[in-house]
């Protein structure tokens, strides 16, 4: 029984981290039809901002939950203005530009912080379940993932911004004709996606370690989840994270984490071939 709980936590943790690292990318993909290949580096910038804040004796919770989304949202807003805005509607070019951006950011981070791993302390110790030891921080990550998804749902569902964003998402020209400033909506959406990436980076910083290249290990999983999920950002992220997270964890149990990731990527390729529009392109149509 205790073992079942621990194993269950492992599965939920795999799904939750996948959802957490993907949700920001999914918002941007769902609303703006662009794939930000620098998403992993947005997360890394979040992790670094947390590490720097901790270094300056900022309270650990503020350092991982408040500082990263604020910092990365600001950076995202600038990047939207300088780069993304010029490429709206051109998916391939946006991917290439953000790919370049991703290399650029890795280089900058290496120059500023050096090619070494920064640490962010884990603020929660282990907890005991029967005779097994589980990581308390894992439970925290799961909780934060749920809170984040719920928060995104509330923003999309209840706020004026969410309403406008959903309108723009469904029909940009119509929204523009109705007097909605679509470029501002896009800017805010991109910054919101960046904030979510930063938040994910902050939350995961204590478990992953912080170094310039780590974005590469996030981006593959994140964009595959987003594309597998399809256009509806929330339902897509949740369904694809569940599918891929479970596959990942099953393969990890059967062999090792590397093959867990390989199984995830292979499953994603097959899913894209079967459902090129993603899960929500075929099912749950019209959902958020």
């Amino acid at each position: 029984m205790d073992l079942a709980v621990v194993v269950g936590i492992d599965f939920i943790y795999a799904v939750a981290t996948l959802a957490l690292i993907s949700i920001g990318l999914a918002i941007v993909f769902g609303m703006m039809r662009i794939i930000n290949l620098a998403h992993g580096e947005f997360m890394v910038m979040g992790s670094y901002s947390a590490a720097v804040a901790v270094h300056h004796h900022v309270n650990i919770w503020i350092a991982i939950l408040i500082v990263p989304p604020v910092v990365v949202a600001a950076i995202g807003a600038i990047i939207e203005r300088v780069i993304i805005r010029r490429l709206y509607g051109r998916m391939v070019e946006t991917m290439l530009a953000t790919w370049g951006l991703s290399l650029f950011v890795v280089g900058i981070l290496t120059m500023v912080f050096g090619d070494i791993t920064e640490g962010v302390p884990t603020p929660i110790g282990g907890i005991t379940i029967g005779s097994y030891q589980a990581s308390g921080y894992s439970l925290f990550v799961i909780a934060m993932s749920i809170v984040t998804i719920a928060g995104v749902y509330l923003v999309l569902r209840t706020s004026r911004l969410g309403l406008l964003a959903r309108g723009t998402m469904q029909n940009a020209e119509m929204a523009a004709a109705l007097g909605v400033d679509t470029s501002r909506i896009y800017a805010v959406t991109f910054a919101f996606g960046a904030a979510l990436a930063g938040l994910a980076g902050g939350i995961l910083a204590p478990v992953s370690g912080v170094f310039p290249n780590i974005g590469g290990s996030y981006i593959g999983r994140a964009f595959i989840t987003v594309i597998g999920g399809g256009p509806a950002a929330l339902v897509g992220t949740i369904s694809a994270s569940t599918l891929f997270g479970v596959i990942n964890q099953l393969a990890t149990f059967a062999s090792n984490p590397v093959y867990g990731e390989v199984a995830l990527l292979a499953a994603a390729i097959i899913l894209i071939r079967l459902l090129p529009q993603g899960i929500t392109g075929r099912y749950f149509r019209g959902s958020l």
Binding site: I35, M95, W99, V106, G216, L265
Partner: protein, 347 residues
């Protein structure tokens, strides 16, 4: 004869320049520089492979390093086991070609759209990178070859004269071989693009549906083109390993894929000469950056990719057409106009 020269002035110029470099560089360059130039030539072959499938076939391969890496590892593993490099050389070309054909069948016959082809190829690269990276330890070996995981495989034998394992190529010989192969690939692709297959391939890039309406199987054309591109990338991978006697998982890395795309962006994706020049220029630049400590190479490479995507205002794809077409039209016209010649040599 004079008519042939007039119509193909640019190509003849490239041929003369290429042969001059092939003969001249080993005579004038010191050993270190010659080794460095050999690497640029290998990268130029790699650039041509993507130029063909992306610039002419319209296949947005974001994970081209998978074919390069497979060629590099295919050569390393088989030459360590066999000793003689003759068969490993061919294996390194065949293996990526087969992978490309399988992947092409998987993608093109399901009529996956452009962007998703990019996503799938990138994902396949990640899979290979992850797997190869995790093979550290004595239990991971193929025959006598230890895969070595993230440490890579050292002491891979050089190429030898076919069927004479003891007669390995010296640096000068290696340069001549690589340069000759570059010229063969370059002119081979030019000839291929003038055949019906090549011209239909370009038509597929322009309008796949119309090609089908005309009775051509566009899926098959893309699959064949993709395999040819994979084979050439594998050739480059083989030469790369033989050149440095070493291969590591970075051959499969996403950054490696990005570099090849950067060569294309810089040189112009719709030409063959452009990517060759792009590969040499960017590789040279990367080496120069490596010799100093202030600026990180990733900053420069990423910056270049960003700038080239942003400063081609109509986007990458139309640029392809604009650069390609003057050249393509010049094939059909009795005489190449000066503009076309200039366009090709400038590109």
């Amino acid at each position: 004869m004079t008519r042939f020269l007039r119509e193909n002035a640019a190509l003849v110029a490239v041929a003369i320049a290429g042969i001059a470099l092939l003969i001249g560089l080993p005579l004038v360059l010191d050993l270190y520089t010659l080794l460095q130039v050999t690497l640029y030539v290998i990268y130029a072959i790699l650039a041509l492979s993507l130029a063909f499938i992306w610039g002419y076939g319209g296949i947005l391969c974001f994970g081209h390093s998978v074919f390069f890496g497979l060629g590099a590892y295919g050569y390393a593993v088989s030459v360590i086991n066999m000793g003689d490099s003759t068969l490993p050389f061919l294996i390194a070309i065949a293996l990526p070609a087969v992978l490309a054909a399988a992947l092409g069948y998987f993608m093109f016959y399901a009529r996956i759209s452009d962007v998703y082809v990019g996503v799938i190829t990138l994902t396949v690269t990640l899979i290979f990178y992850n797997v190869v990276n995790s093979t550290a330890g004595p239990q991971y070996h193929i025959g006598e070859a230890l895969l070595g995981g993230f440490n890579g495989m050292p002491n891979v034998p050089s190429l030898n004269i076919p069927f004479q394992p003891d007669n390995t190529l010296e640096p000068a010989g290696m340069f001549v071989l690589c340069m000759a192969l570059l010229l063969i690939v370059y002119f081979g692709l030019h000839i291929l693009l003038r055949t019906r297959f090549g011209r239909v391939l370009v038509a597929v890039r322009e309008n796949e549906q119309r090609v089908e309406f005309l009775g051509y199987d566009s899926r098959l054309h893309k699959l064949i083109a993709f395999s040819i591109g994979g084979a050439i990338a594998g050739l480059a991978g083989c030469l790369f390993t033989a050149w440095g006697n070493f291969v590591s998982p970075t051959a499969f890395s996403v950054v490696q894929s990005a570099q090849i795309i950067i060569w294309l962006m810089v040189g112009g994706a719709g030409t063959l000469l452009g990517p060759v020049i792009g590969a040499v220029a960017i590789s040279w630049l990367t080496v120069q950056i490596g010799t100093q400590q202030t600026v990180n190479a990733n900053v420069v490479l990423g910056g270049i990719l960003l700038v080239f995507v942003l400063l081609v205002p109509k986007g990458v794809a139309p640029m392809v057409t604009e650069r390609l077409v003057p050249w393509f039209v010049s094939l059909r016209r009795p005489a190449a106009s000066p503009r076309n010649v200039a366009g090709e040599s400038k590109a």
